[in-house]
């Protein structure tokens, strides 16, 4: 059960990050804040694992980070989706769709 929870957590964290970066490029704090806001606190995304997840995704070349300097601000590291990241997001989404479809049919859990 532990392993399943861990996989679920990891898979969902990746999905959320990829989805948020699909809209536009963002920095780490932005990502953490948005996950908290959009789930209205329901998903307590463990913010500590945000960066390890980002670095893992970067290793897998699904996202890429770069330092951006804006006038009057300290430089910040922005992340954006790579083409293979977009592919992965698509695959993630359909997997999760099927997963929730199944859950719904079996356990009557609905998803938005």
């Amino acid at each position: 059960m532990d392993a399943l929870a861990r996989e679920l957590k990891r898979g969902s964290a990746e999905l959320m990050i990829l989805a948020l970066l699909d809209e536009r490029e963002r920095h780490g704090y932005d990502l953490a804040r948005l996950i908290g806001e959009r789930s209205q606190g329901a998903i307590s995304f463990h913010v500590a694992s945000l960066y390890p997840t980002l670095y893992r995704l970067e290793d897998k070349r699904l996202i890429e980070g770069r330092w951006v300097e804006k006038a009057g601000q300290r430089r910040r590291r922005y992340y954006r989706l790579t083409p293979s990241g977009r592919q992965a997001l698509k695959a993630h989404r359909s997997t999760w769709e099927e997963f929730f479809e199944g859950l719904h049919r079996v356990a009557g859990i609905k998803h938005a």
Partner: protein
């Protein structure tokens, strides 16, 4: 707003996880954003700080995941087990090897750099050894050319080692040789068409050109009839002189040039390639060999061309027989003794020309080549050791390929090919380095190094570099490949792909690596001892008692040939120059000598009672010993009275007194050849020995004559000795202008400080000591790196065992001791092999040593200490790492 960088760094790194500065900055900004957001929501600074604290604590828990892995290309797909043909399979293997090369860039670069450095060093030395010792000489069938040397009673003159007596007796009836040629080096003043210039000229018999089989570039070489000509002298120019002085104008033939004031008719020009004895020779003039008469024996160099199938020894035997058959006059014994340093029947030695040219450098070059070869072996061994370690982690990959049907031969070929790709890459980089080094070589080698102009990156040198890289690659790949053949599929696949655990230093790979390590330490030890001996020998040379003080002395040779300067004028000129130089501010003493220390000298013979003795003889100016700092041990210096009274007096050195005189030397009278005449001469003093012929040569008996004692004759090429209060070199321009003022036609050369003379004479031993020292240092460094690698590897392998020990209560000191023990154990084994090996091989450099035996106890004692110290340093890091192993983590991460 607070800067969180330091706090995050402290707290995260407290968990022993160093964090990339890049990541640190990203986290600090995140923290700053949390703080700012909290404050904007109305939180107090303390509350905002608390929010950040919670975040940092969370990061701290995940510290080990806070790292970006370096970008690596994905693992290449191994080539299929079965290929259509052998060729395609080979191509696939090469492609796979190239991809692996890219993927393991750091490892591959390390291997390539190690190989490149080793190959470059070895190739450069090989090219010097090949160019100097092995390359054929530029003359046709040069292996049949021999240098002839005459000895009497085992004594051989240092220069001009063949006499007219032996030459003439042999030349007309030679059977074993096609022809003999006599030649002697000369320095002439070339004048007419441009400034007068001192040039090196070879005076040779007409047979010189047929012996060498040399044909002129234009014109003709001289004929036997030219040897005798008193008027209508001829000269053959070198190509270089012809280009530099006459603009390569073919109409130079038939023109007259002046050599030492004598007109010479230009008959031909010789290729630089064929210049004899080397490219420094600028012209050739005929040499006449006169018959030996009672008191006349002329000396020169001689070479001969052997008839086909004749050995040098056969030629030497004929030469000796012919020479002995020549009429011998009893009067000539004195002359023979003066020239040879001994008397006896004529003996002749014949040595191949190439060996004779390179005799001085052959042994050091071979020693250095062997040394650099050893260095290359230890560098290669390091790579082999690394590959062996890597083969362990690649067991899974190889096992999978074997399971998929790749045969042992296929896998072996693949592994060898991988190394070949690396080795050839190393070879190519090495060749590039060699090319660069080659440009520097002529300036790196001492000025008196033979055949430097023959050094080139030719086919044999490039072939050597390639062969070295291929051989090294095969040697490096062989061990892992052999391991791959013996692979146990089931066992390998059941492991996790990392090294097998728990076997520690007792695994086969670890044992092989320790064995390699022992060899490396042994090599480092041998090289270090060799370098130590050469270094000590060099220091002994530098600090040897030379019999003079070289500091603040400027020397300059002034040419006053008889043909241009009459006796009286020459004496006046020398006196006047001495006076004017002495008057210069900053000059403390001025004198002169005809053969300065570390320069050439002549010899003479005497009768002491009824014994004939031989000695080097020098003519000196007033105050010579005081100016040079040579101590007078007994008796008195020359005085002006000696000149005015025309006293027959001279001074001898210690070696002379020791060999030829009784204890009470001064006042002893001798009769003989000192400025020919029957009257006896008196020895007035004994001075300390001066190393005239070179620092490593034992002092020989010498006599000093006062130049004006009998006649007003001054030497024709005195070397002025100018001792100064400060920097001597700064007086060089003043000296030149002073000579020019005195007489603008006078040529001054070899203007150099005594220190520079010393330094030049030390150039070869210094080069050898520095090179061997460098090789030894590198070998030691490589061995240290190797030891570090092997120990790190075994510590990683034994981490489980070490963790268990720690868990069972072993203290860090115990663990450190364990690792140190292993490291120093293998080093001691290496030293135990290296010491006796060095004991055997240092005999080869015995002849290169001065003032230190080749079994010098100090060197043999210190070298192992140095090796052990360096080894101990190399052990420190792995030992510390071992002592810090966290039992919990180590046991968890092991399978």
């Amino acid at each position: 707003m607070p800067d969180w960088t330091r706090e995050i760094s402290n707290r995260v790194e407290a968990a022993r996880h160093p964090v990339d500065p890049d990541i640190l900055e990203e986290l600090a900004q995140h923290a700053a954003a949390i703080y700012a957001a909290a404050r904007a929501d109305g939180a107090s600074p303390a509350e905002a700080r608390a929010a950040v604290d919670v975040q940092i604590a969370a990061w701290q828990n995940e510290a080990d995941a806070l790292r970006r892995r370096p970008r690596r290309p994905p693992a290449p797909v191994p080539p299929p087990a079965e290929s259509r043909s052998w060729g395609t399979g080979l191509l696939q293997d090469v492609r796979y090897a190239a991809r692996l090369f890219r993927r393991h860039a750091a490892f591959s670069s390390l291997v390539v750099c190690t190989m490149a450095a080793g190959i470059a060093a070895t190739t450069v030395l090989f090219s010097v050894t090949y160019g100097v010792l092995m390359k054929p000489l530029p003359w046709a069938e040069a292996d049949r050319l021999v240098v002839l040397a005459e000895t009497r009673g085992g004594h051989r003159p240092r220069f001009n080692s063949f006499s007219n007596a032996a030459y003439l007796a042999w030349q007309s009836r030679a059977e074993t040789v096609e022809a003999i040629a006599a030649w002697a080096p000369r320095v002439f003043t070339l004048s007419g068409s441009g400034d007068p210039e001192r040039i090196r000229v070879v005076a040779g018999t007409a047979s010189l050109f047929p012996v060498l089989r040399v044909r002129p570039l234009i014109g003709s070489v001289f004929q036997p009839k030219d040897e005798a000509a008193q008027d209508g002298r001829v000269v053959v120019l070198s190509e270089r002189l012809w280009r530099e002085r006459f603009g390569a104008d073919p109409s130079v033939l038939g023109r007259l040039v002046e050599l030492d004031g004598q007109p010479h008719l230009v008959t031909g020009v010789l290729h630089d390639e064929a210049a004899f004895p080397d490219r420094e020779a600028r012209a050739w003039v005929p040499l006449r060999v006169d018959p030996a008469t009672g008191n006349f024996l002329s000396m020169f160099e001689a070479i001969a061309r052997l008839r086909d199938g004749v050995t040098p020894a056969q030629a030497a035997a004929e030469g000796a027989a012919r020479g002995r058959a020549a009429p011998h006059s009893p009067d000539s014994d004195m002359v023979v003794r003066a020239i040879f340093g001994g008397i006896g029947p004529i003996e002749v030695a014949a040595e191949p020309l190439r060996d004779s040219l390179t005799a001085d450098v052959r042994r050091p070059l071979i020693v250095l080549l062997v040394a650099v070869g050893l260095l290359f072996v230890t560098a290669t061994a390091n790579v082999a050791s690394l590959q062996l370690a890597r083969a362990t982690t690649r067991r899974r990959e190889i096992a999978i390929r074997a399971a998929l049907g790749a045969g042992g031969a296929r896998v072996t070929r693949q592994l060898l090919l991988e190394n070949l790709v690396l080795g050839l890459a190393g070879g190519c980089v090495g060749l590039v380095i060699t090319v660069l080094l080659h440009r520097w070589l002529p300036s790196l080698l001492p000025a008196d190094f033979p055949r430097v102009s023959h050094l080139a990156l030719d086919v044999p040198v490039v072939a050597f570099a390639l062969a070295a890289s291929v051989l090294a690659s095969i040697a490096v790949g062989l061990l892992p490949a052999m391991r791959a053949r013996r692979l146990d599929l089931v066992q390998s696949l059941s492991e996790d792909g990392s090294a097998p655990a728990g076997v520690g230093g007792r695994s086969r790979v670890a044992r092989a690596r320790l064995l390699i390590m022992t060899g490396q330490v042994a090599i480092a030890c041998v090289l270090l001892i060799g370098a130590g001996l050469l270094g000590r020998s060099f220091l002994a040379l530098v600090s040897a008692d030379r019999g003079f003080d070289p500091a603040n002395v400027l020397t300059a040779r002034v040419h006053l040939p008889r043909f241009a300067y009459g006796d009286t004028y020459r004496a006046e000129l020398v006196d006047s120059l001495t006076r004017r130089l002495r008057d210069l501010p900053g000059v403390t003493a001025v004198t002169y000598i005809d053969g300065p220390p570390l320069g050439a000298s002549g010899g003479t013979a005497f009768m002491i009672e009824s014994r004939q003795v031989q000695a080097a003889s020098y003519t000196i100016g007033p105050g010579y010993f005081a100016a040079m700092g040579t101590r007078i041990l007994e008796g008195r210096d020359f005085s002006d009275q000696d000149i005015s009274d025309a006293r027959r007096v001279f001074i001898v050195n210690q070696a002379f007194a020791h060999q030829h005189l009784n204890e009470t030397a001064a006042g002893q009278r001798v009769r003989g050849w000192v400025r020919k005449g029957p009257d006896p001469w008196e020895i007035i003093a004994i001075v300390e020995d001066v190393r005239h012929r070179g620092l490593s040569e034992p002092p020989e008996p010498a006599v000093y004559l006062y130049r004006s004692a009998e006649s007003r004759l001054a030497p024709t090429a005195p070397t002025f000795i100018i001792r100064t209060a400060g920097d001597a070199a700064s007086f060089a321009p003043t000296l030149r202008s002073l000579v020019k003022q005195q007489d603008p036609t006078v040529i001054v050369d070899t203007v150099m400080t005594m220190q520079a003379r010393l330094s030049t004479s030390l150039a070869q031993p210094r080069l050898y000591a520095v090179l061997l020292g460098g090789f030894a240092g590198l070998a030691l460094f490589i061995a240290a790196i190797g030891l570090f690698g092997v120990l790190s590897y075994t510590v990683a392998q034994r981490s489980r065992e070490l963790a268990v020990r720690t868990a069972l209560g072993a203290r860090p000191a115990d663990i450190v001791r364990l690792v140190l023990f292993q490291g120093l154990g293998v080093t001691t084994a290496g030293v135990a092999v290296g010491l006796p090996a060095a004991f055997l091989v240092t005999a080869a450099i015995g002849r290169l040593l001065y003032g230190v035996g080749h079994r010098d106890a100090l060197t043999f004692g210190v070298a192992p200490i140095v090796v052990l110290t360096v080894a101990a340093l190399a052990c420190v890091a792995p030992a510390r790492r071992a002592s810090r192993i966290d039992p919990l983590r180590a046991l968890k991460s092991s399978p």
